[in-house]
Symmetry: C2
């Protein structure tokens, strides 16, 4: 072990964790190709050569960043989604509440769990908006597709009479909107002259619930 010789030494993060933190920051800001390993090494405060020791390739490093927090994150989303059901039937859950339950952990983790989580979530939103042919999104897909599929399954139970394709399109529209918000392009900040802030995820969640509930209900009624 690197930095823990004696018993009462500072429990300082080891190099591997420092690298993951730095990579998380840089990848979330610049994307996979826009990030350089040299920049990641500098921000992590470790020597460049060490990256190759812990993570043979840049792709391995990216995957490790995704994997590190994946279980805690996807678990929180699924728990929150199923928590809103209570003991009853999915058909009794208001659609807006259902949507907000799924995304509540995103907002909480991004706002209240420190910059690491905020960076992580932005990194994931970037990956979600990337073509599936890119090799670096494979790990993201394998890890988080089950969450999306679970949500889709819940939607099917919530709208048992809706056409299946309308469920899929609804989920796609919703995913696009939330990812756009999580990337924080600051487009809405500019258009609104600061009235709306893309960093204000609480407001995003508050608006997103009724907005997409209305859209889903309309589509499910077959009015397309």
């Amino acid at each position: 072990m690197p930095k823990r010789s004696g018993k009462s030494e500072k429990p300082r993060k080891d190099s591997r964790e420092l690298i993951l933190d730095g990579a998380e920051t840089v990848f979330s800001e610049k994307g996979f190709y826009g990030s350089t390993t040299r920049d990641i090494a500098a921000r992590s405060g470790v020597h460049l050569g060490l990256l190759g020791y812990y993570f043979p390739t840049k792709l391995d490093l990216y995957r490790a960043v995704i994997t590190r927090r994946a279980e805690e994150y996807s678990g929180a989303m699924l728990a929150s989604l199923h928590g809103v059901r209570g003991g009853g039937d999915w058909e009794d859950v208001p659609v807006g509440a259902l949507i907000q339950a799924l995304f509540r952990p995103i907002v909480d983790f991004s706002l209240n769990r420190g910059p690491g989580w905020k960076n992580y979530i932005r990194l994931l939103a970037r990956a979600a908006n990337t073509r599936r042919t890119e090799p670096y999104v494979q790990t993201f897909m394998e890890t988080f597709n089950p969450v999306s599929l679970e949500f889709i399954d819940v939607l099917k139970q919530r709208f048992p009479n809706a056409a299946e394709e309308d469920i899929y399109w609804s989920q796609s529209f919703l995913a696009g909107a939330i990812n756009h918000a999580l990337i924080e392009t600051e487009a809405v900040d500019r258009y609104s002259n600061g009235l709306c802030k893309s960093s204000d995820l609480e407001t995003v969640l508050a608006k997103l619930g009724p907005f997409f509930a209305a859209g889903m209900i309309r589509l499910a009624q077959g009015e397309s």
Copy 2:
């Protein structure tokens, strides 16, 4: 001029256009940082050094790709948007028709005007989902922000009693959804096992109109 000596010679594209075509293709698939000038040169069928002759930097090339089709594209969107008004009042235009009018040229150009346009539109959708701090989105913003602002202005007239911020959030959600669709991540293809195809922009447009009309109406009613 490079390749047109006589009168009856084949009107072959000159190198500059070939480079722009190749760059459009590569940028739309891999993004700015994921694309290499060598790849662009190879796909354009020109020598690498020629890129530097016509476009000093990769950024200049990217900007030129955006600029080449910008006027025709934004003009078509604005014309279609204002065409749906007819001679009457914005408040009389159905919201779904208004949304579909804005995006109708996107679908038409992407599906019926050749691969160059399809690539161009995907490239723009990528840029729209990129943080505004990235230098390479500057040209995109300057060129297409007026279109978004015009649409926002129309929405304000269509919903004169809505809170301003709800107009901005509505536009943001809509932009996120359409960009996600135009990037064609193929996420919906996988979730639906091929039932829905992200390349099927006609269906996207058909679903998107009623879906987002319902969302906007709900938000405009103040039910957030």
